[in-house]
């Protein structure tokens, strides 16, 4: 994964609350066996409205979405994160995110920045005309008008994003700890260790 340190550029002033992953990418797009090409299906239903924000020319290729509360609720489909990436989105700013979506976004190098509603209201306004800047190292969101909002992020996630670390590779380095757990479990609770190896 490529390191992520800063995201800067135009932001879609989307603002909608409770954006579920069916809105981000409808189910009929999930039949792919690849991670590519899903941008075409992103926000498909909303894009049928010709005034939709995602097709306004001034936002073409914008790397940021400003959204409402509970962004990414619903299904666990990582296709939602892949669809955003494929349309060029590298960060979403919202008052809150669903737990599964924020994990999926993180694993694909998309920043999920949680800010209070008042900050979102301000960013919605700025986004109409000007770019927004996110600095991961300093954990700030700034605008050309001296707005400056700070955000919290899990330190582990921050480290992985900034270094572009492969989480699976990191975990596999902990093989001895995992093997130790498995040996204990097989001794103390063998019924969990058998799985489909057990058959009536």
């Amino acid at each position: 994964m490529d390191p992520v340190r800063e995201v800067e550029g135009r932001a879609y002033p989307f603002g909608l609350k409770n954006v579920d992953t069916d809105i981000i990418i409808p189910a009929h797009w999930l039949k792919t066996i690849s991670r590519e090409g899903l941008g075409e299906g992103a926000f498909e239903a909303l894009r049928k409205d010709e005034n939709n924000v995602f097709d306004r020319p001034e936002f073409a290729g914008a790397p940021i979405i400003v959204a409402g509360d509970n962004f990414g609720c619903g299904s666990s489909r990582e296709h939602a994160a892949w669809a955003l990436l494929d349309m060029g989105v590298k960060a979403v700013i919202a008052p809150s995110f669903s737990d599964i979506f924020s994990g999926n976004a993180f694993k694909n190098g998309i920043l999920t920045v949680a800010l209070p509603q008042a900050a979102i209201d301000r960013l919605m306004e700025v986004a109409e005309t000007d770019p927004i800047s996110i600095d991961l190292e300093n954990q700030t969101v700034t605008t050309p008008f001296q707005d400056r909002f700070t955000f919290e992020i899990d330190p582990f996630r921050k480290h992985c994003l900034m270094e572009g670390l492969d989480e699976v590779g990191l975990t596999l380095e902990r093989d001895s700890a995992i093997a130790g757990y498995e040996a204990r479990q097989t001794g103390e609770m063998p019924w969990y260790a058998k799985g489909t190896a057990l058959s009536a």
């Binding site: 409770n18 409808p26 039949k31 066996i33 809150s96 489909t196 058959s199």
Partner: protein, 476 residues
């Protein structure tokens, strides 16, 4: 040393801690992993590219469900009927080849054990109390009904679990949903969970694991508990739990992958310790009075948009929050409803009985009890019953439920996710309504423009009979 009182969630979490990192992130061991065709191909591909193996293939079970058409799978000569949609066929073929390549047990389209992942796991005893269970599907919360810590994951996490049998997680907060008193006759677990989501909202449980507590859940069947926990994610909680008890043990005993002999006795002794300690505290607590729960339906496009069947479509201005007012207006426009309409006057053209929420044998019995000796209303164009698995289908046929459905004018299908989500041929046409026992009424969920009303199996059956949303208690 006396230990601090802990919640059920904390006990399962602590029991699966491989190691805690300095930053507080925990490496958590995963006991059971269910895999289906939609969220796994990119994970297997990533393993192949990096030359990684599946660490514990016996702890993963693979079964197709989302894409698989629910029409006949074999022709008259017993040959597999090819899948018409080339993309679906490719995705299903990928699972069929990935599973054996990585040594994973696979139940294919024509296997009696095939079904919806969340029906298959518990019914085979693969899902066990106290286990950590994951699947690339958000309704994995379902397995909390047998006392497992179960939650949905994305495809990168599917890859992580396949490779390491662990996940890197931060501990969730705890939330208690305590239901006091008793449910009225004719009120089902589905009505209760819809009511709970209507109360807490779709973000009410975000960041939390819910534990459902109270006599109602102790008296509820295991299948009812699976229905309740299944929809925890609709309340924002990644997992929902109900403490395992004698009913859980009786349900699991003798199932294919459940422990046997001495293992069984030891497991039960351990499972009996899996309850929240007296004095343990929750970060958040919600109390619901069971006697206020009526048969419940949804009017909008969010699972929190619930109302009792005797109620009316709400006016957007009745909500305090301006953004909810806006969302409610958009929902009403999409749903083609007017404020003040009686819910029981809303006509439906489609009925879907199925999904990981409501496709188990008790659900089918409840629907059949309403449909027995009755017929589908002429205005209902399409009504299907989709059993959750091959084993459920077999059991229903032994009980003659299939005949009840067919005689009432409903279609009896093969197991799968079907019309719960618009990614297989079972779809609701645009601007038509469906009384659906599934879990999501999102815009376009059952097909572009489709209008979903979430209901219980008995209420779906009642809607099939009258052609409109109906209080099943009025059908005597």
């Amino acid at each position: 040393m006396a230990s601090r009182p802990r919640t059920l969630y904390e006990k399962i979490w602590d029991g699966h801690l491989v190691e805690r990192r300095e930053d507080g992130t925990c490496l958590i061991y995963i006991d059971r992993h269910l895999v289906h065709e939609v969220t796994s191909p990119q994970a297997f591909e990533a393993l192949r590219i990096s030359g990684r193996k599946v660490r514990r293939p016996e702890l993963t079970l693979a079964v197709p469900d989302h894409n698989l058409p629910t029409t006949a799978r074999l022709d008259e000569k017993g040959h597999r009927i090819p899948i018409a949609d080339p993309q679906s066929a490719q995705q299903l073929a990928a699972l069929e080849s990935n599973a054996p390549e990585f040594g994973i047990r696979y139940f294919g389209a024509t296997d009696i054990h095939q079904g919806i992942v969340h029906v298959v796991g518990p019914e085979l005893g693969f899902s066990l109390p106290g286990a950590t269970i994951v699947c690339g599907d958000s309704h994995t919360s379902c397995h909390g009904g047998i006392g497992a810590l179960a939650f949905g994951i994305g495809t990168s996490e599917v890859e992580h679990v396949l490779a390491s049998q662990t996940l890197l997680l931060t501990q969730s907060k705890t939330m208690e949903v305590r239901v006091e008193g008793e449910l009225s006759p004719g009120v089902t677990p589905k009505d209760l969970i819809l009511h709970i989501i209507g109360t807490i909202g779709t973000a009410g449980g975000t960041g939390h694991v819910i534990e459902y507590r109270g006599k109602v859940f102790e008296e509820m069947s295991i299948e009812g508990r699976l229905t309740v926990c299944n929809m925890s994610i609709e309340g924002g909680a990644r997992a929902g739990l109900i403490a395992p008890d004698e009913k859980t043990f009786a349900y699991l005993k003798g199932r294919e992958y459940a422990p046997k002999g001495e293992d069984w006795d030891r497991a039960v002794a351990y499972w009996k310790t899996l309850k929240t300690d007296e004095g343990a505290s929750f970060d958040k607590s919600v109390v619901i009075d069971a006697s206020t729960v009526e048969p419940t339906v949804t009017w909008g496009t969010s699972p929190e948009d619930t109302v009792s069947i005797g109620g009316k479509v709400p006016a957007p201005e009745s909500f305090a929050d301006p953004s909810k007012q806006k969302a409610a207006q958009a929902s009403l426009d999409y749903m083609g409803l007017q404020p003040g309409q009686n819910m029981s006057d809303i006509e439906v053209q489609n009925v879907f009985i199925g999904s990981c929420t409501n496709s188990r044998i008790e659900d089918l019995r409840a629907a059949a009890a309403v449909l027995k000796g009755r017929s589908k209303a002429p205005g209902v164009k399409w009504a299907i019953v989709v059993p959750g698995s091959g084993l459920v289908k077999q059991q229903a046929e032994e009980e003659g439920l299939d005949k009840v459905f067919i005689e009432a004018g409903l279609e009896w299908r093969e197991p799968g996710c079907s019309a719960c989500l618009g990614m297989n041929p079972d779809k609701v046409p645009p601007e038509e309504r469906c009384a659906s026992t599934s879990n999501r009424n999102f815009v376009g969920r059952q097909g572009p423009g489709a209008r979903t009303h979430l209901v219980s199996p008995a209420m779906a059956a009642a809607a099939a009979v009258t052609g409109k949303l109906t209080d099943v208690r009025d059908l005597s």
